[in-house]
Amino acid sequence: MTSSATPSVPPTAETPSGTAPAETAPVRKPRRRFGLHVLGPLMALVALIVLGAFLNDNFLSAANVQNVLARSAFIGIIAVGMTFVITAGGIDLSVGSMAAFTAAITILAMNALVAPLGVSVLTIALGMGVALLAGLAAGLVNGALVARVRIEPFIVTLGAMGVYRSLTTWLADGGTLSLNYELRTLYRPVYYDGPFGISWPIIVFALVAILGELAMRSAPFGRHCAAIGANEQVARWSAVRVDGTRMATYALLGLLVGVATIMYVPRLGSASGGTGMLWELEAIAAVIIGGTVLKGGFGRVWGAVVGVLILSLIDNILNLASIVSPYLNGAIQGVIVILAVVLQRERKADS
């Protein structure tokens, strides 16, 4: 076998047999770690910040930054949970109406507790407990229907979305449920105040994001979610508790909806059939913009956080600057989501 026009010599026996890689293993240089699929969302975020600062002097003021972050917190907290659900190959369309329902239950519980306990911190604390429990329970129901009864997550959560929305409207008798006025005064600081001038929703959002990122990146839970989303059979055959893990993703998301509701109720002090409208779509959009793969197998919590901030900033900039009508907010967000998926495709081609 001679070579005439070929560019290189046929290999003899240099095929690696395992010793060479073993020696170089501990020192590894990142390869393609910062491709477009990683930098894309970050560059978009930076570009929006630069654009905002350029268009409006108040954009970078402490008040506006605080405002954007606090408004991002609800969707952001939910998006962190949604990242796990989507990574494990699921979807949850019910989080918006679940938030409305949880808010309604929380308000009813707090109002009812005023009679025995008075307007006290204990009343609010118990109400918060009700919010967490309601969210967790709703998430567990979704999870059980998906993992145990084996109904498509899209169908389960589409149904749940209708159920919770309707229950909320029914509880509010078609109108608005309002928190007891004095309770509201006591509860208000949970949204508007916080330590060192940083409001509580921002702090809670940051905590949830950090814990979520750690769980996704370095905990068996995150690894198992990705494995299930990538190939459920392989996960099962690798002794991963597929049903339990999948159920846990929905339960976690429900619990985080409860957390978001705790932050949300003091903002307006009321809930109605319109509360949390389209939150599910914003949360899913944020997750996708952040680089999580919609059909599962790969998830990035920090990406979802960036995604939420991108969506909030678009809204904020349109409101501050008068170049483009704020009514076009949804259109711009939609384009961004589609662009994000195009970037994902490039990521796929890389690997």
Binding site: M1, T2, S3, S4, A5, T6, P7, S8, V9, P10, P11, T12, A13, T15, P16, S17, G18, T19, P21, A22, T24, A25, P26, R28, R31, L214, S218, A219, P220, R223, H224, A226, A227, A230, N231, Q233, V234, A235, R236, W237, S238, A239, V240, R241, G297, S351
Partner: protein, 511 residues
């Protein structure tokens, strides 16, 4: 040299590669390869996994372009811009993983993209008739109205071939067509290949089963490390010589010596039922034993083992290391010391898009988890480096994904993953499916070493030499039941086949 090959000597090749080289990024996988295929011949292309067979086949069928050199069709230089263009010229590649739309019927698949129509309407009756005719040519009586997902693997193979014939294929390129077939199904396929050859079709055939190659091929080309090392008539080319040409060195005995098992019974199974697949299975396994499970595909071996490992609903009495266990949870079985290594590497074994380390540790992730929460990634990297060394996994780069490994190396990674869980009993289903001969010898050595180290191994295999060569005792299944057990020298191919076909049904001996 056979009659057919002599007649076609000197004929213009229907398809040829001339000095073909191919690079993927910096990696060169083919080096100046010449290859030609004449009408009415079966030309076998053999080589170890990673030798470049798939790349060459893809270049010949228009799926890939050569980096250097070119392809000739009917003696004229040709550039296939795509596999569609190659198909239009009658060159069809039949993939190892079938290219059928599983929810569609046989007829819909065969006519996919070239449906017969009258105006906007399909001429269903005519298409069905044509399908029957094509399938009849292959001696295959599958109903064209069946959905492909309801067909067996060999039937799907026939549908693929019929689909190719329906497109007037002059050249069939078959990528390990017998990998998933049993001996009997293989015979059928080879008979049909014979028939196609007689009708003038040129066939490029790859297989790891050298006995088949010796039986069916007119000529054999051997690739090693991307270069052609031999190309000669099959007549007089012994299996042993082929294997040595592939590996490039003298082959010592493929199977290591068998060690005698100890007396202690580590696993005893009584009346294990796996509904729909296996009934009343009872057997025992001793410490340090390699127990073979033979039988036809569909005899329920895999399902029985999956039931035993908690992966399928199953009921029965199981004692594992002296404790009674219920096989209802793979994790609990793993903790009790039993793991199952699947035959389906790609769908049940490895996450092909994930890095090697994450695949390696998935089954035994707790070992790498600190405080129950944090995965110790440096420890994972060390485990991977260790596994790559211990199992001689040829990985270009430790950060590559499992899907980038060749079949043999994937299998070794899967073995490393399974053994990382430190099972006392390991069930290995088809340990060398789609694995080249070099990796085979290594895997056999690992299995023997496991037994020597006091682990107990169950080997499920459709390759009789493998079962006989590895196991001291062979249990044969027939239609979901244990048809018999053969020990030592009694385990001959003939005895196993008779049991597997249900000819010598006898009560299983209590081991």
């Amino acid at each position: 040299m056979t009659e057919g090959a002599r007649l076609s000597d000197g004929a213009v090749p229907v398809l040829a590669a001339r000095g073909v080289s191919r690079l993927f990024g910096p990696n060169q996988v083919l080096f100046d390869v010449d290859f030609d295929l004449r009408p009415g011949e079966v030309h076998a292309l053999i080589g170890e996994n990673g030798a470049g067979k798939s790349t060459l086949m893809k270049i010949l069928s228009g799926y890939l372009a050569p980096s250097f050199g070119g392809v000739e069709a009917d003696g004229r230089p040709t550039v296939f811009a795509s596999h569609r263009e190659a198909e239009a010229q009658g060159v069809v590649l039949i993939h190892q993983e079938f290219n059928l739309a599983m929810p569609l019927t046989v007829e819909e698949n065969i006519f996919l993209g070239r449906e017969l129509r009258r105006g906007p309407f399909l001429r269903a009756a005519e298409m069905q008739e044509e399908c029957r005719r094509l399938l009849a040519r292959l001696d295959c009586d599958v109903d064209p109205r069946l959905r492909c997902r309801d067909l067996s693997a060999p039937e799907r193979q026939m549908v693929e071939i019929a689909k190719a014939l329906g497109r007037d294929a002059r050249v069939l390129i078959m990528d390990e067509p017998t990998a998933v077939l049993t001996a009997r199904e293989t015979d059928l396929l080879l008979a049909q290949i014979d028939r196609l050859r007689a009708a003038g079709t040129a066939i490029l055939y790859t297989s790891h089963k050298l006995d088949e190659v010796a039986r069916i091929a007119d000529r054999v080309t051997v690739l090693r490390d991307g270069a052609r090392v031999a190309s000669r008539p099959a007549a007089g080319f012994t299996e042993h010589a082929m294997a040595e040409a592939m590996v490039g060195r003298e082959l010592s005995d493929l199977f290591p010596p068998k060690a005698a098992p100890q007396d202690e019974v580590v696993l005893s199974v009584r009346d294990l039922d796996v509904p729909g697949h296996a009934r009343g299975a009872s057997f025992e396994l001793r410490r340090g034993e390699v127990l073979g499970f033979a039988g036809l595909v569909g005899a329920g071996r895999t399902e029985l083992m999956e039931g035993l490992a908690g992966l399928r609903p199953a009921s029965g009495e199981i004692r594992l290391f002296g404790r009674s266990v219920r096989p209802d949870d793979p994790r609990a079985m793993r903790e009790a010391g039993l793991v199952y290594l699947t035959e389906d590497r790609k769908e049940k074994g490895l996450l092909l898009g994930f890095p090697l380390a994450e695949n390696l540790t998935l089954l035994a992730l707790e070992k790498f988890t600190r405080a129950g929460l944090r995965i110790d990634k440096p420890a994972e990297a060390r485990a991977l480096a260790q596994a790559v060394e211990d199992f001689a996994i040829a990985a270009r780069d430790l950060r590559m994904t499992a899907g980038g490994l060749s079949g043999g190396n994937q299998q070794k990674l899967l073995l490393a993953k399974t053994l990382l869980a430190e099972p006392g009993v390991v069930i290995i289903d088809e340990p060398t499916r789609g694995v080249d001969i070099g990796a085979k010898a290594q895997i056999y050595a690992f299995i023997a070493a496991l037994a020597a180290a006091g682990k107990s191994v169950i080997v499920v295999s459709s390759e009789l030499p493998e079962v006989i060569g590895l196991a001291g005792r062979v249990i044969v299944m027939h239609r979901g039941r244990i048809a018999g057990a053969l020990e030592g020298d009694a385990a001959t191919e003939n005895a196993i086949v008779r049991l597997a076909m249900g000819l010598d049904e006898k009560e299983p001996e209590p081991a």
